[in-house]
Amino acid sequence: MSLQIMTANRLLGGGVVYFGENEEWTDHFASAKAVEDNDGAAALLTEAEKAEANQLIVGPYLIKVERNEAGLQPLSVKEGIRAKGPTVLYGHGTPANSSESVSSGPVKE
């Protein structure tokens, strides 16, 4: 089975989140908890259902990833963009990983 992580969007802000190594939802792709067996995937799904029921996240799904020397890497362009934000500047030249990001901050609100 491929290496997988759980992702979703936050209900309140809409920002991209991942279920993390520390058993909490995080904004950071690199901190996502990766599993590579059915039991691990089932556990991630259970966590996602719980977070959905608690109004923390929407639309959870598993994505395939790989791990190299630099850590976890998304396998598709789409997940790469979800992880890092738009690849283009916008507005007043705001970069994607702006500290003004409305999707930053703690997940549990």
Partner: protein
């Protein structure tokens, strides 16, 4: 201007309160996402890749300075300081948070705006010619009929849950600037042999994965029957349009599979049943709405302006901007000033809050307080005195809004693509930015002449690539972004769907490929007067293909 009456006020206020309650219930957990999603979509709220996206309607693209300032305020207070004008005369905000959306809707309602019917399987914002009321080639102002359609279609109980979304466009001019032939219903205001004004009705046009040019279902429809005829078309579609497969649910598929003759028979049968009912449009009602769109109080001016000509001679930047962006007005001494939202290397259609304020100020001071949004993702000041054009230009120039590239290769229609959109396969904006930079030399752009380049990040075709003279479609090839090129599309009165030239190109090859196509055109054209599209229609695909895949 559009008539926001007591009825609109009531239902918008009700909807704001209702949606506020729905958001609260969602946050509290009383509504699941499955229950909430159709409710938020009915209020223009999508969940995209990184955030929610709110789409705000600008009825037939007409708005004023107060509304523009409110849009700027919303961008500043609730978003990230900018908005994005769409390919259907709407504006989108890419970063609102859920809990703020009811407050945003409340603020919009204060200036008679809303986000209702900007999503969902209903009749969407009716679009029109951005030069309405100002164009020299206009038979009648199409906004009068857009407004009638808006009033009829707003919260229409029978057409709230159609098989799929439904888009109507109206043009009142001989040149189709509203792309009516690629809409579910396209209406062209025409004069018949007796000199009467009515509509030529097109049905079944559209883009997406199955692009179709609309077919004429009725050559002449008297004005008073507009609503009954639209209702007949919608009723036939609502009853027999497919609901089993969303990819085959648009009316274009029904028209294609059933045949225009049979559709015409069914529509006319229904129309004959309902045409003399309450849907009959009393001409006095048309006149009443016509009054809302009465022309501004134009001054009697000379057709030429000495100060304008002097400035054009003195300031080369102004001359360049005028050459591309200023269009003849129906009144002597006035002009239509286009504001390009495609500066070199920027995201097409994006505008900052500060720029919105500038446009609002200029509209208020120089254009009878009127602004238009275009489906080509630009803005228009429709009624500017020639004497004032230089001041308008200087105001725009200070704010980075004076790019003189209208209708040229860098004036692209571009969907948000994979940088924002959850449906996209590939990025559109960076490709547009790279093309814009490659062709940055404005003299080179003028040499190339009129060239409509349109980019979509997926087959849903929000970037109108099917009707681009050059179309670019982003596709996913084993997780990688690739781009297919089409040639020969056209969105005007000679509408055509572009043809695929051949295998697609990788992300880092697509700009070179576009340049090869353009250079091929420059080599084969029959003089500078022959446009890209004319040259393509003369020689066909072969020379382009030969060069591109050599």
């Amino acid at each position: 201007m559009y008539r926001y009456d007591e009825f609109d006020y009531d239902f918008v206020q009700q909807r704001v309160a209702q949606f506020g309650d729905q958001v609260e219930r969602r946050i509290e957990g009383d509504l699941t996402e499955d229950q909430f999603k159709p409710l938020r979509l009915m209020n223009g709220l999508y969940l995209q890749l990184h955030a929610y996206m709110l789409r705000v309607a600008i009825p037939y693209g007409t708005f004023n300075s107060v509304q523009m300032r409110k849009l700027a305020h919303i961008a500043r207070k609730y978003d990230r300081g900018y908005g994005h004008f769409t390919t259907r005369q709407n504006i989108q905000y890419n970063w609102p948070v859920l809990k703020d959306v009811p407050a945003i809707l409340k603020e919009l309602a204060e200036v008679e705006m809303h986000a209702i019917q900007t999503s969902g399987n209903c009749i969407r914002n009716t679009t029109s010619d951005q030069y309405a009321g100002a164009a020299a080639d206009e038979i009648e102002d199409p906004r009068v009929y857009c407004e009638i359609i808006r009033q009829w279609s707003s919260l229409h109980p029978e057409f709230t849950f159609l098989p799929r979304k439904f888009k109507v466009a109206v043009t009142g001019a001989t040149t189709d600037r509203a792309a009516i032939r690629v809409h579910d219903i396209g209406l062209a205001i025409v004069k018949n042999d007796d000199g009467e004004v009515g509509f030529e009705v097109h049905v079944g046009g559209g883009q997406g994965r199955t692009p179709m040019i609309g077919k004429v279902v009725r050559e002449f429809l008297p004005k008073e029957h507009l609503l009954s005829y639209l209702e007949a078309i919608l009723r036939v579609y609502n009853q027999i349009g497919r609901r089993d497969n969303k990819y085959k649910a648009r009316i274009k598929i029904l028209v294609h599979e059933t045949g225009i003759d049979e559709i015409r028979r069914l529509v006319e049968e229904e129309w004959n049943r309902i045409k003399d009912t309450a849907l009959n449009l009393p001409l006095e009602e048309v006149d009443r709405i016509n009054d809302y769109f009465a022309p501004p109080t134009f001054e009697t001016l000379d057709a030429t302006s000495r100060s304008f000509e002097v400035k054009r001679f003195e300031d080369r930047g102004f001359a360049t901007w005028v050459r591309a962006n200023v269009v003849a007005h129906k009144r002597p001494g006035y002009a239509i000033a286009n504001i390009s939202l495609k500066p070199e290397g920027e995201a097409p259609g994006d505008i900052t809050d500060d720029q919105m304020e500038v446009v609002a100020d200029l509209a208020e001071k120089y254009s009878f307080d009127e602004i238009r949004a275009t489906h080509e993702q630009n803005l228009v000041l429709p009624h500017v005195k020639l004497d004032d054009l230089y001041d308008v230009f200087l105001g725009l120039q200070k704010s980075g809004l004076a790019t003189g590239n209208l209708g040229l290769i860098s004036d692209m229609i571009v969907c948000p693509g994979l940088d924002y959109c959850a449906l996209a396969n590939a990025r559109s904006i960076p490709v547009a930015q790279a093309i814009s930079k490659r062709f940055a030399d404005i003299e080179r752009q003028y040499d190339i002449g009129e060239l409509k380049l349109k980019i979509s990040g997926c087959i849903n075709a929000c970037g109108h690539h099917h009707v681009g003279h050059i179309g670019i479609l982003g596709v996913d090839r084993k997780g990688e972004e690739y781009y297919q090129i089409t040639l020969g599309g056209n969105a005007n009165e000679n509408a055509a769907i572009g043809k695929i030239i051949g295998p697609s190109f990788a992300y880092d090859k697509i700009v070179d490929a576009v340049e090869t196509v353009v250079n091929t055109y420059l080599e084969i054209r029959d003089g500078a007067e022959e446009s890209f599209l004319d040259a393509y229609n003369r020689v066909g695909m072969a020379p382009f293909k030969e060069r591109l895949y050599a």
